[in-house]
Symmetry: C2
Subunit: 351 residues, 2 copies
């Protein structure tokens, strides 16, 4: 279309790239899209279900399943410790895990801005392939759209996922009970700070890498050990605070958090102070909380510590009966303050 | 963040809207996002699975399933015969149907541009609720992201879907055989022309409405009648031509299409001539092709004609053995020409 071509010429300087650039035709449903799918996505993600080249993948998931979706709009696309592709696989793998499921299959939907260097797309696709292999999931179906230059921001990725539920009991906010303890799986805030530093060129990005990682192994290990996990929640946007408040409100219970028990690396704490952030509000991409009965607490902690991604796990809080959901932070001196979700926007496009 | 606020002030004039505007905080994982989810999505899509407020939905799909995904980037968001919400539900419902599945569950991922009028989002969400009800599917899990003004184009929606496979035999390109006939389910080109007209203000938009609709009922009726449907394919981006070429290449067969049999409304044909489009390349959102053995052809046609969405079904082509996939268009005088996929971009952002 003439108007799109003109606007591209005017507003989108085209850097010289050996591998070329993604163009509108790559999303047009014709030959260029078929070639992109065959040459890049088909080769990188090759598996029998994807290779069927149909409108969707067909399989038997084998009983009760979890189904989840997330769109990823992180800026910049590449950051210390990962990129949007790593994030898009691990984020959805972790959401399935939080439902008490073994992640099995992912879909991927790309929304690409006209002019994205093909080399960037290739690098991200390779990251997705590697992250999928590491988490033992298969990318079985996909979709590609291309929008005009200036109508997106490089690349957005949606992944949806299907996993097979492991246990018979419901894992979720409504299963949380008084006398549960809250286990935090490791140090908080690295993903948010790493992305923020890469975005704003704050100078400490080399030291702080995102914690982006799949957490499926330690969570499945808890369930396989017969520990009654009442709720799991990954600590992404809004961080630990927002996750706890949402669970407290949904479950109608009170949660008390021990401030000194919450693990935060010194460099992350310093960066948070510099930026005016509270680490319990900062996003993570490889951290979760587990609610288990206090009688199971020490055994659960020992299991989590056996896995690298959760070797820093600690018991950081406890659940009390309450008629209204509330979260309280208690410090070493016994003083307390109420914890709320973020009320504004702290870190847009962190995932 | 300061820089985002500044760029918003400078570049995004904020129209006065009674219902307000979507803001970055609505995607931040905090209180504003929780309120948006509760007040809009939660109320519009309310169902027990969604209401669980967990990282995903859990259920038993009951055996073999189809799993599919599509992102929707149509411009403009509203067009004669539908909007991006209608499209996002029907498109994924139809993809599941094309796999031979009864659509059951959808996920929805919103990527919203800061500044989108809340009234527009509400209208689109209501469209999705109505389309889901019409197709008997349930929206069970979702995700919301907001990006800065100028970094998206109003709204992008991803829907992924799960359906239960109906028959035991594989439905797909590789099941197509010589002696199959190609049934086209109705007149072609209305969606593409309706969106194009709305976008470019071409003046004939009032007469041509998108064909956007769920095609699940006639397709299930074919299968329930015991007709061996070898392949189904909806005729979206790239139109009839691209669908046939992809199937011919995947199956390694030849397809001959009778030009005079292909149904195109006169007003659509006139618009195509004006715009320089071939109707067999134009996108549809409520049209599909079915490959069935020629002995089943008349019975299949009669079943399709019983459903409003496919009452214009015709036999428009046939399959021949071939060592290489090819599609040929034959006119009433017996002359033929090869059909290919679109080689460039005809109608960007048609779905």
């Amino acid at each position: 279309m003439a108007d799109d071509d003109e606007s591209r010429d005017l507003t989108c300087p085209v850097p010289h790239q050996a591998g070329g650039l993604v163009q509108l035709a790559h999303g047009g449903g014709g030959r260029a899209m078929a070639n992109l799918i065959d040459d890049l996505f088909g080769k990188a993600f090759a598996n029998p279900l994807l290779n069927a080249r149909h409108d969707g993948a067909t399989f038997d998931p084998g009983g009760r399943i979890a189904f989840t979706t997330d769109s990823y709009v992180v800026r910049p696309l590449f950051f210390p410790g990962g990129d949007i592709g790593t994030l898009a696989v691990n984020g959805t793998v972790n959401d399935l895990t939080m439902c008490g499921a073994m992640p099995l299959y992912l879909s991927v939907g790309f929304i690409i801005e006209d002019g994205l260097p093909m080399a960037d797309l290739e690098r991200i696709v390779i990251s997705m392939r590697e992250a999928a292999a590491a988490a033992s999931v298969t990318i079985v179906t996909g979709d590609t759209k291309v929008v005009e230059c200036g109508k997106a921001d490089g690349l957005f990725i949606n992944t949806s996922g299907i996993g097979r539920l492991i246990g018979d009991h419901a894992i979720g906010p409504r299963a949380v009970r008084p006398d549960d303890v809250v286990i935090v799986s490791g140090d908080l805030g690295r993903h948010g700070i790493a992305v923020m530093a890469a975005r704003e060129n704050l100078g400490f990005e080399s030291a702080i890498e995102s914690d982006c990682a799949p957490v499926v192994d330690p969570c499945l290990a808890l369930m396989e050990a017969g520990i009654a996990v009442h709720c799991l929640r990954d600590l992404t946007r809004g961080g630990l605070a927002s996750a706890l408040v949402e669970i407290a409100e949904t479950a109608g219970i009170a949660i008390t958090l021990e401030e000194d028990a919450i693990p935060v690396r010194n460099d992350v704490r310093a960066a948070c102070e510099l930026l005016g952030f509270d680490p319990i509000h900062v996003a993570n991409e490889g951290r979760f909380i587990a609610f288990v009965d206090k009688v199971d607490a020490e055994r659960a902690l020992a299991i989590l510590k056996e896995h690298e991604v959760s070797q820093g796990a600690v018991i950081a809080g406890s659940v009390q009966a309450s008629t209204e959901g509330q979260v309280t932070l208690q410090n070493a001196f016994g003083s307390t303050r109420a914890v709320d979700m973020l009320s504004g926007e702290q870190l847009p496009r962190i995932c």
